[in-house]
Symmetry: C2
Subunit: 378 residues, 2 copies
């Protein structure tokens, strides 16, 4: 990878009245065209969006030219390099400067865009986000939050961390609870979200020591922090209506997320098999086509594509690497919604206040506890 970067002049028109989303065109498995297609779909439905798009200009410009809805709404920033799906985060941190991913985050850092969207390598995106945007005050470990189809009226629950880091101590889990509550409030419109801590049983004596400690400190000032704490929840509760936000470490969360996806796709495959077994089953499938489509819409992961990086000075959305145009569109829609709500600032205020509550209480109890500060990598 080279480290040179050529940036074309910004030419977003009417950007004052618009919400600018910074899009990494390069990282997705399905290529640049799918990303541009997702952008044009989002732009068609929402006249307030404009874009800064980062990547190989000679590839991007002809694709943009084909989509009239994007005319005058996109600024292209050329980069020579791309972060590969197999690049190690540590490598990208040292040598990532010429990549579309770096450029995409840079636009958010420079306040030219409100939210960054990338389909690229998750580990590299988180590593670069930490370097360029830095961690928000009070956050030791940022987290990736996703929406999980659920039985709740809002249709989805929030789960975090699904893989920003492989571990989390009790204080981190407390910060995840504050951030997850803020995301549920802004992303799902829940005034007083119910938070649960993922464990192997709901009884107080079950699980690891850090979970017992987190259980205590999340509970103690839940009311002050604007959420309800329901205590321990189990894997089976993730898609339930007993809870709105599920808090866990990034190792467990990542395994759970991929297990849920794997289970859903196995069942989907078995359903297709069942409906194409013989002529009768193929015929009968025709009769239930509408019902099946309705079902798919309710559990289609493409409709809620986008893991949100929480705990940085800026909002970053990681779209699925294999996202198609529908998936990219969903990620951009989410980016727009969060940008409109001023989510980054609201979240930062919640974490600062939540961790301050705790510090105040600890001091009142005669203990001086250091509030976790961002260990600022540069």
């Amino acid at each position: 990878m080279q480290t040179s970067v050529a940036i074309s002049p910004s030419s977003v028109k009417n950007s004052a009245a618009k919400t600018v989303i910074s899009v990494d065109a390069m990282g997705g498995d399905l290529g640049v065209a799918v990303v541009i297609d997702g952008m044009s779909r989002a732009a068609r439905k929402n006249p307030q969006i404009s874009f800064i798009v980062h990547g190989d200009e000679p590839t991007i410009t002809p694709l943009l030219a084909k989509r009239k809805v994007l005319t005058g709404r996109v600024s292209v920033r050329h980069t020579d390099e791309v972060v590969d799906m197999h690049d190690r985060p540590s490598h990208v941190m040292r040598h990532g400067k010429g990549t579309s991913m770096w450029s995409c985050l840079e636009a958010v850092r420079a306040k030219e865009a409100s939210v960054a969207v990338s389909c690229g390598n998750t580990g590299a995106l988180m590593a670069l986000s930490m370097i360029r945007l830095r961690k928000a005050a009070g956050v030791k470990r940022p987290a990736i939050a996703i929406l999980w189809p659920s039985l709740n009226p809002q249709g989805f629950n929030v789960m975090l961390d699904v893989g920003a880091d492989i571990r989390a101590d009790a204080q981190d889990l407390k910060v995840f609870a504050l951030m997850g509550a803020s995301y549920a409030r802004n992303g799902l419109g829940l005034e007083r979200p119910r938070i649960g801590l993922l464990n192997v049983g709901t009884e107080d004596h079950k699980g690891k020591p850090e979970l017992h400690e987190a259980n205590d400190i999340i509970a103690e000032d839940a009311k002050m922090n604007g959420f309800e704490y329901v205590g321990f929840v189990e894997g089976g509760d993730i898609p339930s209506d007993k809870v709105d936000v599920i808090v866990t470490d990034g190792f467990t969360g990542n395994v759970a997320l991929k297990t849920g996806e794997g289970t859903a796709s196995l069942i989907g495959l078995r359903m297709r098999e069942a409906f194409t077994r013989n002529l009768l089953s193929k015929l009968s499938a025709l009769f239930v086509l509408r019902s099946l489509r309705h079902l798919r819409d309710k559990i289609d992961p493409r409709q809620v594509n986008g893991g949100v990086f929480l705990g940085l000075n800026g909002t970053v959305i990681k779209s699925h690497g294999a996202a198609d145009a529908t998936g990219v569109e969903a990620a951009i829609r989410l980016a727009f919604q969060l940008a409109q709500l001023g989510f980054t600032e609201k979240l930062a205020a919640r974490v600062a206040s939540g961790m301050q509550n705790r510090q105040d209480e600890d001091e009142a109890n005669g203990e001086i506890v250091e509030t976790p500060q961002s260990s600022e990598n540069t």
Copy 2:
């Protein structure tokens, strides 16, 4: 809980020619009748099974009398006490002597029965199993293995540990690989099972330090131990055909198992909704009823009910607490199969040999490493 226990005399007829299964009649959520019903179903299909059943004799005997197929094939051992679903394992270890669960394990310890089956509290059953049966040589942490519906020709993959313990170090994970391979060989008939280690990515640099260490030591003598090692796998691979046995710690495994179950039941619920939305969808559901039944049979967890405790001097099967008669029957069928194959002895030999290989190699390399021994609680 009292500690007295009244044991009625054993009266199993023709026990020499039969395989005796020890059944705890008391612990299930659905009551004793469901357990007896499951026993009679298994007995009807398999004339070689006989039972020792443990629990409240005045409840059990009238239920047995109603089922002719069980006549002369069941010995009842009365106990006054029952382990409750909410009893802590530590409490049961100290005060469990008068319970049906204790008595059920005692029959295996005394070699009166080959395998124990209980629907009761998992934590308590594992704690009592460790006290009464003790850990096999070379096993520091026993594990619970389950069968997971998969795309493989055999229809299922093995996953362990799904909750015997909340942690596992690299040596434990190696033992899990040996035990899981043995279970896949005997339970699924796979001559040379493919083993994978659950992680958050398949690249070598991903995940926790103990996983990197385990990755090395499981790989190094896979061939000698009769399995193929495929390296790291992810949550999405659990139901795949890339692997036959998935090795993980009991915390992660338990969350993954319950997440998979929760996802499957959410989809099941949404399917029922889709097919009962209106008159047309109800009508069309009639046309696909056969296909839907076929689908259900392929993913119905009741058909493979039973977590197997591995790494003890005796085989114990934990049936789901909410198991109905079909579930209990499946657990007993599995118990019979493993008993017939002499599974306990085969597994012990594999672990002893696998850990011996490693010790030999370490010694050849000039290191003296202590083979983990059972820390025998009494």
